[in-house]
């Protein structure tokens, strides 16, 4: 059997929108097939067709050589297709074992629950994944990577032959990513076919055997990533069967994705940093675990904050934005000591914070884009009693032009925009406040490559205009490419302050707390 899954000329439209056009894709046993594409390129629709959530308008779908009709999620499940979503779809109030059992045990209202075998099953599955998670842990208490492990355990337990992973590493830190990649390699060694969706190109090169790029609902090419298959126990000799051309480099993939050349990944800094805008002196917050952080951010400078998940980066941002006020140490803004006890005070002091998890709290999804943008500047924009909707609309149009926000108009609800554009709206809101200090928390998480480099250019431009930028990111290339200086946090404390052009290895070893990783700046 050569192919696990074969899609031939699949098309799908939603109303007037053609989500997929003549997309063909095949997946072989023991293969990791990466799926790349900007947001809105049709990846999710393709996944929904493979998992049976949508029926294609035309085209054929064959699973293990057999054509399938009347495809439903239940059929997909029984045919050994499992999907690990970016946001794990688990029941937070149930335990790990119960969650796994819900997916794997046969459904019958009157079947007696065998708690022991349920727990044993969960333990053995998790152990196969090299995890020591307790099967009795409530899922709500687990971290994101642990929840993903549970999802993967479900797929394993179901004996899935086709596993789809939708941006599994988007919210993971480096070591967690590496563990997950190890698991994917194990799956591949067992002959499972993995469709792997990611925005991180380096992951494609680290993990994938082949990569298919989608753009505007069409497949613009499939490339071979590794010259030779390294799997054992897979009878096919890939080199002879695979007709796909090998991929040249990252730039080629980016070109395929965006359909144009991206000259350089990160904008270069010009101009020298000016006065010190923000100065932290031994800032601690017992409640949120920030310990004795001393740090300067100058005007015109992007200071990157690296660290593992839970290293206290977002917490430090919370301290600066008054979400969890500092209980010792000093915060100086333009050399004036300040106390920041609430977001309102932070805003009044000229601090802006674009939070992590944009989908939930960066913009208000139901509100019109224009309303989102002016939310923090009502007092300045509307000096009188009444709102001036015309002025508001003009401001929104200006930002749309300046930040290249793609939307039907200022009235479009923020939720109708793509992820990258939502992030730009969140940015616009804070730029409108003309802040002295801009704190960005994972500014490009879940944003497609094109929008990502636009946001990078924008951040650099703001810094060049004299803004002080503090940028939290788990995306190591982003930290390395964007930052003038890199602060590495570990356990709530500043572990190292590294200069521009530091090596990834140096940052990582500081984040992991290894010695010799660089000096802590005063």
């Amino acid at each position: 059997m050569k192919t696990l899954l074969q899609l031939t000329a699949v098309s799908k439209s939603f109303g007037a929108v053609r989500a997929l056009r003549n997309v063909s894709l095949d997946l072989r046993p023991g293969e990791v097939h990466a799926l790349l594409g900007e947001n809105g390129a049709g990846k999710s629709t393709l996944i929904r067709i493979i998992t049976g959530a949508h029926a294609p308008d035309s085209g054929r779908l064959e699973i293990q050589g057999l054509p399938v009709r009347h495809f439903s999620p239940a059929t997909a499940h029984s045919l050994g297709i499992a999907c690990v979503y970016q946001q794990p779809a688990l029941f937070p109030d149930l335990t790990v074992a119960e969650n796994i059992a819900l997916r794997l045990e046969s459904v019958s209202a009157w079947r007696r629950v065998r708690w022991k075998s349920r727990r044993d099953l969960a333990t053995s599955l998790l152990r196969r994944l090299g995890s020591d998670l307790s099967p009795d842990a409530e899922v709500r208490t687990l971290s994101m990577p642990a929840q993903q492990l549970v999802e993967i355990a479900c797929a394993l337990g179901a004996g899935a032959r086709i596993v789809i992973m939708d941006e599994p590493t988007a919210s993971l830190t480096r070591p967690e990513q590496e563990r997950l990649q190890g698991i994917v390699r194990d799956l591949r060694a067992d002959g499972v076919g993995v469709i792997y969706i990611t925005h991180r190109l380096e992951e494609v090169f680290a993990l994938a055997d082949r990569v298919t790029v989608l753009r505007d609902g069409e497949s613009v090419g499939t490339r071979r990533v590794h010259p030779l298959p390294r799997q054992r126990g897979v009878p096919d000799n890939f080199a002879s069967v695979v007709g796909d051309p090998p991929v040249q480099d990252e730039a080629e993939l980016i070109r395929l994705m965006v359909g144009r050349e991206v000259s350089q990944l990160f904008p270069s800094a010009d101009g020298t940093p000016g006065r010190v805008v923000l100065s932290l002196r031994g800032v601690s917050c017992a409640e949120c675990g920030v310990r004795d952080v001393s740090l300067d951010v100058r005007a015109g400078e992007v200071v990157g904050l690296a660290g593992l998940m839970g290293a206290g980066r977002t917490e430090l941002a919370g301290v600066l934005f008054g979400l969890s006020p500092a209980d010792s140490g000093q915060i100086l803004l333009d050399e004036t000591p300040v106390t920041i006890r609430s977001p309102q005070e932070a805003v009044a002091l000229g601090i802006a914070y674009v939070p992590e998890d944009r989908r939930r709290h960066g913009v208000i999804l139901e509100m019109a884009m224009a309303h989102n943008m002016t939310l923090a500047i009502h007092r300045r924009l509307f000096p009188g009693t009444w709102l001036r909707l015309g002025a508001e609309c003009d401001l929104a149009l200006e930002f749309m032009r300046e930040l290249a926000i793609k939307a039907t108009g200022p009235d479009a609800p923020a939720g109708s925009l793509s992820g990258g554009n939502q992030q730009k709206v969140a940015l616009a809101r804070w730029l409108a406040t003309r802040p002295r200090l801009l704190i960005l928390d994972e500014p490009t998480q879940g944003v497609d490559v094109g929008a990502k480099s636009e946001i990078h250019r924008l951040i650099r431009r703001l810094a060049d205009q004299g803004m002080a930028v503090l940028m939290i990111s788990s995306d190591l290339p982003e930290i390395l490419g964007m930052s003038d200086r890199i602060g590495v946090l570990r356990g709530g404390a500043l572990q190292a302050m590294l200069p521009r052009n530091s090596e990834a290895r140096t940052v990582m070893s500081a984040a992991l707390g290894m010695s010799g990783a660089g000096e802590v700046a005063a």
């Binding site: 139901e366 309303h371 709102l387 609800p413 109708s416």
Partner: protein, 328 residues
Amino acid sequence: MSTSGRTRAEAGAKAGRGRGLRFSREWTVTGALLLLLGFMAFTAPGFFEPQPLLSRLTAAAPRLVVTCGLVLVMLCRQIDISVGSLFAICSVAAGLLIAASVPFPLAVAAAVGLGALGGAVNGTLVAGLRLPSIVVTLATMVTGREALRLARQGVFVNLPDGVQWFGLSMVSGQLVVCGVALAVLTGLALALRFLSAGRWVYAAGSDAEAARLAGLHPRLTTLATFVLLGALTGVAAILNLVQSPQVDPASGRLLELEAIAAAVVGGVAVSGGRGSLWGVFAGFLLLTCISPALTHLGVKPYWDKAIQGGIILLAVVADGLGRRKGNR
């Protein structure tokens, strides 16, 4: 206006959250209302005779005032089911004061103040202690109603002469009552659209955490809507009080449900952040006109509530279907 409405609807269709429906709901309800009125104009022109019509609208005016307040609370993703009890308390209190020959304006102030106080209690518990509003207001509803029963034992309050219709002629009094209600409606509708505070309400109801991160005060906003609803309940109590020579301590029963029904039919989302007072007004008129329309058509009055229930159900189902279609 229509252009912007259309782009919104288009964007909404893409947003996949049933927004197209959100902005057309005002139109569908208005359309249904016009259809009903048009139908009545042909089949039973007697429906439009000014005097009975004015009387009916006057009787419903207090409910409109309460509905307007409740819409604010619902936009904040909260609910208040204690408005009926509070309405009765304010009515009785104002009645007793007037009966004790306290000047009328003072009695009005007392009713409004008492209402605001009741709203503040609810709001503090909900916004301050972050308790679920349905439970909090269930508790205050039962407590208020029972306390009133204990205190009054069901005895009506007799009002002195010259209080009914503010001492004016009946028609003038009715016009004043309807005028006040319409002023409240218009004022709040304008405030929601053209005041910063209006934005805060939508922001708090759509995503309180995002509003907080934008430097707003969503909890204060929520508290303020409860206080405003309480005060408006006091206003409504006065508008009701002037319509009869007595105050019934059991008045305001089911008021909360009627108000919620009008809001839901008018397109206010129970999940907060969505809806407009224009739609609510249309929904309110639609539900209010059903009963007299049936009378004029010679349909047995038992059908009244069933049809109202059907309309509410239709509104909720339409919302649900719209959302499902949008989720594609």
